[in-house]
């Protein structure tokens, strides 16, 4: 099967490409990139005015299957991913049962290939049952395709256990991804400690509850040599810790979410909108600005959504009893384009590194570049289209987005995974 994408503006910092070109694809691989290409038979698609980039990867999502299919499942979550322009996601292990063994890893991979609309990389739990007590069978999970390990949803509380995780994990060339939350400090914290907790009369979730574990895990990275990835980093000082670790040469990377970049503790008004209850919480405007600086200067390696779907009824309740989390797959790209790229704060090249190149490198999955021989995972973006976030348009089962009503510019129109369209003109290719 052959496909020719014509007249697109092709951007790929990996190969220094930023020009209008054609891309010829055969049998799932890119065979040629250049001007005035033609193919003998197959499909031609004119992409004038569109931008083509290496397929986007969201390395932090909750697909909820198995166990919580009322919130989301692999079919709906991967459709949301494709709708948002992603060719791959990495799903977190806090499923039911927990993804802490090879059978569970195989199940998710099998479901994804049967019903999925994007590649699904599986992160396994680093402790059995996410309890932070006993090592999971990381070796067996690696043998069955797990790409990384994390107890995401909880921080590993015991420093000795985290050291064991990183010591043991270091033999597999896989990254340990850390959800940093010191439960003794955070307790039942609901919103950022400080102005928000005082104003809203709820227990505070202090920045230090996150920073303490970031500092600890960087120290353990130094001790064990195990690659460390800090998940959903939210504070200026936390970012400084990562910046210093990188300067020291430690194998430390980090990610931030669009909601921690573009929403802050003041976004939570006296309507106590539970869609804005996220973990870690929305921080101060100063933290947001520091995170944006980190995105621009390269301290931040990846933009991820922490896509956390919940049912309407779980979120339509008292703030303090609502579950944490918001969805993000279908707004992430447009938020980055609208808030960072379009105003000129962030280059297209850097955006592609954050949302495509670096996540693959951190997850140690196959590199995808717009060059002959590469797998044809591609995202086509209309950079000019203006649209309003509407809960009715989500393909996710959930609507718990903090950006409903937001006016955005730019979105994915077409997505190709291994040369096959998963999204065509904004609609899922079934």
């Amino acid at each position: 099967m052959a496909l020719l994408l014509k007249n697109a503006h092709v951007i790929d910092p990996q190969v220094g490409l930023n020009e209008v070109a054609d891309i010829a694809i055969r049998d799932g691989k890119i065979v040629e990139v250049g001007q005035g290409l033609s193919i003998e038979k197959g499909v031609e698609k004119d992409l004038a005015g569109k931008i083509v980039v290496p397929g986007l990867v969201d390395m932090h999502v909750h697909l909820r299957e198995p166990g919580f299919e009322q919130k989301e499942d692999i079919a709906s979550g991967t459709r949301a991913a494709a709708h948002g322009g992603f060719t791959a996601v990495c799903c977190m292990p806090n499923t039911k049962p927990v993804t802490d063994n090879a059978t569970a890893v195989e199940f998710i991979q099998a479901r994804a290939s049967a019903v999925g609309k994007c590649r699904v990389h599986v992160a396994g739990a680093c402790s059995q049952g996410l309890k932070g007590e006993t090592l999971s069978e990381m070796g067996d999970m690696v043998a069955h395709g797990a790409v990384a390990f994390t107890d995401d949803g909880r921080g590993v509380q015991d420093a000795g256990m985290m050291r064991r995780v990183m010591d043991y994990g270091s033999m597999f060339d896989r990254v340990i991804m850390s959800h940093c939350q010191d439960e003794a400090l955070v307790g039942d914290g609901q919103v950022n400690e400080g102005i928000a907790s005082t104003r809203l009369g709820m227990l505070g979730w202090p920045a230090e509850g996150e920073e303490l574990q970031i500092a600890r895990d960087i120290a353990l990275c130094r001790l064990t040599g195990c690659p460390l990835h800090i998940q959903h980093l939210t504070t200026a000082r936390g970012l400084d810790l990562v910046r210093a670790a990188k300067e020291e040469g430690l194998p430390v990377t980090c990610e931030v979410t669009p909601h921690h970049l573009f929403l802050n503790e003041w976004s939570i008004g006296d309507d106590y909108n539970t869609f804005l209850k996220v973990n870690p919480p929305l921080r101060t405007p100063e933290d947001c600005n520091a995170l944006i600086d980190g995105v621009v200067d390269g301290t931040v390696d990846a933009i991820v959504t922490d896509h956390a779907p919940h049912t309407a009824w779980e979120k339509n309740c008292e703030f303090e009893i609502a579950p944490f989390g918001m969805i993000g797959l279908e707004t992430s790209l447009a938020l980055v384009l609208t808030n960072l790229v379009d105003p000129g704060h962030l280059s297209w090249e850097r955006a592609i590194e954050l949302m495509s190149v670096n996540p693959r490198a951190i997850l140690r999955v196959e590199r995808v570049a717009i060059e002959p021989g590469s797998t044809a995972d591609l995202t086509v973006i209309d950079p000019e289209v203006e649209w309003t976030v509407d809960a009715a348009d989500f393909l996710s089962k959930a609507t718990n987005s903090g950006f409903i009503g937001e006016e955005l510019k730019g979105r994915a129109t077409d997505v190709f995974v291994g040369g096959y369209a998963t999204l065509e003109d904004g609609a899922i290719a079934e």
Binding site: L200, M202, C317, E318
Partner: protein, 314 residues
């Protein structure tokens, strides 16, 4: 004077004029409460639901008496009869109640923000009778009334609030209300009982030294040590708390001769107050506060529902 509020949820939405109107209206109801027959037809035909989803004795009984004396029909809902124990969501419960065509919900809940949620769902008038650690505006208004009745003008008064500021919904409303009325507010507590940002509530001065603060104060507002709400004790013992932050007879010489003592009740005698101070004939207004609760709550319901003036003297 115009009163344009549908709800009493967030005291910061009330102006000084709004608050004075509540206090002046409460004076009219004081006259009613001094009659032999303490009942007026003001809210005849209105239906009020007392939705107390968390244990409450005095706030609830205060509202119940206020409702009876205003002649409205009231329904008590909550406690062991709460649908939540059967797994119903709060939103469903409120929608069910509203199908009864009720006029007002008085809500006490252990979660912050619930009164606003009920207002949004129900369309009824809502009075916040205490939401989590957030606000308790009717307590603030009765406190202002009690102080106003003794001191006259509130503006310029120096008020000290002592105790568990950080976990106190009373403070969430009282401190902003005092600021609206032009008072100068000092918060006095160990750092373990301070909110992260007392300035956000409006506190002018923050200290952990009661003895230094006391000589300046016109009103000393003692908070109840809420033992049931504190995980991991924030002070080593009640004895030491009493030594450092208790308003005891030994501290009276530090107080202005006319300084008042307030407390929202119930009192832990021997902890935040000793009996000498709690029962002080000139200083303690604690029982005045309880009485003021009836008067101000009658005024609040009357103003919010736009009741008739039958039986009220101008």
């Amino acid at each position: 004077m115009a009163f344009n509020h549908r709800h009493l949820i967030d005291i910061t939405e009330y102006s000084a004029d709004d608050i004075m109107l509540v206090l002046e209206t409460a004076v009219k109801f004081r006259e009613v409460n001094e009659r032999k027959i303490k009942k007026v037809p003001t809210l005849k035909g209105f239906t009020v639901v007392n939705m107390f989803n968390e244990p409450s004795t005095r706030t609830r009984s205060s509202f119940e008496i206020a409702e009876k004396r205003l002649s409205c029909d009231s329904l008590n809902f909550g406690g062991s009869s709460t649908s939540a124990v059967k797994g119903e969501s709060l939103v469903d419960t409120v929608e069910t109640l509203c199908s009864y065509k009720i006029d007002m919900v008085i809500v006490r809940d252990k979660h912050a923000g619930v009164p606003r949620l009920i207002a949004d769902v129900s369309g009824a008038h809502v009075i916040d009778a205490g939401d989590g650690k957030h606000q308790h505006p009717t307590q603030a208004l009765l406190d202002l009334y009690s102080t106003w009745a003794k001191k006259g003008d509130l503006a310029g008064l120096k008020v000290g609030v002592v105790g568990d500021i950080g976990h106190s919904r009373v403070c969430g409303s009282l401190i902003p209300a005092l600021k609206i009325m032009g008072c100068e507010v000092t918060v006095i507590a160990p750092p373990t009982l301070m909110p992260a940002r007392p300035d956000v509530l409006g506190a002018d001065h923050v200290t952990s030294n009661l003895d230094e603060a006391l000589p300046e104060l016109d009103v000393v507002y003692m908070l109840r040590i809420q033992r049931e709400r504190l995980e991991g004790a924030p002070y080593p013992s009640l004895r030491e708390y009493n030594q450092l932050f208790g308003l005891t007879k030994d501290r009276e010489p530090l107080m202005k001769p006319d300084a008042l003592i307030c407390h929202p009740g119930p009192i832990n005698r021997g902890v935040e107050l000793d009996s000498y101070m709690a029962d002080h004939p000139n200083r303690s207004v604690i029982l005045d506060q309880v009485y003021a609760g009836i008067l101000t709550r009658m005024a609040e319901m009357y103003l919010l529902l736009g009741g008739s003036e039958d039986g009220l003297t101008a």
